[in-house]
Amino acid sequence: MSDRGTAWRLSVDADTCIGSGMCAGIAPGLFTLVHGVSVAREAPIAPDPAAVDAAESCPVEAISIRDAADDHLVAPEP
């Protein structure tokens, strides 16, 4: 994992999400369940270990974190 970036963009693949509530429990400020599907905060965030925890813990790997500057994948690890 590289966390050198200064801002991250979060996204959740709504078709993959199973609504386990894992991310919303780990990082409640960043992910919210809307009608049973996780929605990530839209605005870029400052690098936050809780976001990485959420992306790495998602049972269906529906979350991606990308560097806002160069779009490289920060998490999850392949």
Partner: protein, 402 residues
């Protein structure tokens, strides 16, 4: 509803001894009339019990509820021993640190890689049943060996040792089936066995999950303590023995006693994934709900004031029958569309083996129904022998013919 309590007194919980897979009708009454109620479990302090879907999801998923806060409290429980340690008694970020170490091995993507081997095992087991001829005890011939072999392969536990931990793993789901001192003895055996296996991995590194945990532990960045590693590995092995094993037979029992739904599934095998979700919703695996979450601040649930420090239990099986979320909730409907059931829990403690269990249950039903389409009970339903004194509902034996 029949209620002979003193005003304000807590109801004894569980409300009744488990009756096969039937949910106590009191849950439905409570959802309507008293959705958050006081209960007293066989052990530990009094608690609130939430029975509506929305409230149960809040209790399990909202960070204002804590599992870590149960440590040091006399936790309400149906087992004499208190868990006290381990991943189920942690909150983020401690919980995330441990969970992340094993989460990768259980993602949908990684689990799909195990599907062909699971199909192969299921086929071998059915081959053996066919060679021996009907009748067979499905628990012994199929439901037990299938998940046991898969979890052993994933963890790297020698299948030849399965006789040992099959006895011991009952300890993690035992309420009264084993005497308390035996529960402690078996849990100790399980940890000692795992510690031995871990020591072996240190001498001879492997690519299985235990080998991977040993590597993380030994890179020395304090991500995992020795005790955490032993408990995590023993917990995964035991969970792999006592849940999917039980549910395969429960699911088959439900299908064999719901002939219309069984006929539908035989005619439309593409419904298997949806059928598995519906069975996860419909079958109350737990004899009772437990693992109270402690409120970390004052809040309200369905209008009831919960104070900071109060333990609240989410009744998962009741939530799965909430008519506000599921149309005709007491009907088994394998064609049900969206099925946001809480069979694997919700929130940070959502079952880590959920994707593995789903895959195994799908393979189990596809293989059994595909190869033995005339599958039927070999005895009268009333003669089936149900286990008791456990956290889970399940059959001791399931005699079937085909």
């Amino acid at each position: 509803m029949t209620d002979t309590r003193q005003p304000g007194a807590a109801r004894p919980y569980p409300f009744s001894d488990p009756d096969r897979l039937n949910l106590d009708p009191l849950y439905a009454n409570l959802r309507r009339q008293e959705p958050v109620t006081r209960v007293r479990l066989p052990f530990g302090e009094e608690a609130w019990l939430a029975t509506r879907y929305a409230d149960v999801r809040t209790v399990l998923g909202d960070p204002r509820f804590s599992r870590a806060a149960s440590v040091g409290r006399d936790e309400p429980r149906t087992t004499p021993q208190q868990i006290g340690t381990g991943i189920l008694s942690m909150d983020p970020p401690d919980h995330s640190r441990l969970r992340r170490l094993v989460a990768k091995a259980f993602t949908a993507r990684r689990v799909e890689l195990l599907r062909p081997a699971t199909v192969e095992i299921a086929d071998e087991l059915v081959d053996a049943m066919i060679v021996a001829g009907p009748p067979a005890d499905l628990v012994e011939a199929f439901s037990t060996p299938l998940p046991v072999r898969v979890i052993c392969r994933l963890l790297g536990v020698p299948v030849t040792d399965q006789g040992l931990f099959r006895t011991w793993s009952e300890a993690i789901v035992s309420t009264t089936s084993l005497p308390p001192e035996r529960i402690l003895e078996y849990l100790g055996n399980m940890r000692a066995y795992m510690a031995g296996l871990i020591a072996e991995r240190r001498r001879t590194p492997t690519d299985d999950l235990i080998g991977a945990l040993v590597r993380v532990r030994d890179t020395g960045d304090d991500r995992l303590s020795e005790q955490e590693m032993v408990e995590l590995a023993a917990g995964l092995l035991a969970a792999g023995h006592e849940t999917t094993v039980t549910q395969i037979s429960n699911f088959v029992y439900v299908l064999l006693t719901n002939p219309e739904q069984l006929a539908l599934l035989l005619a439309r095998p593409e419904l298997v994934p949806a059928a598995v979700e519906e069975l996860l919703r419909y079958v109350p695996l737990g004899a009772a709900s437990a693992f109270a979450r402690y409120a970390t601040e004052d809040l309200t649930l369905s209008g009831v004031r919960i104070r900071a420090g109060d333990p609240v239990i989410g009744a998962v099986s009741s939530a799965n029958r909430d008519g506000e979320v599921f149309e005709d909730p007491d009907a088994l409907d394998l064609t049900r569309g969206a099925n946001p059931h809480l069979g694997f829990g919700h929130g940070v403690h959502h079952c880590i083996g959920a994707q593995l269990a789903r895959m195994e249950l799908q393979v189990a039903l596809e293989t059994l129904l595909g190869r033995l389409p005339a599958l039927a009970l070999a005895v009268d339903e009333k003669e089936l022998d149900w286990k008791s004194g456990l956290l889970v509902r399940g059959l001791r034996t399931l005699p079937v013919t085909w």
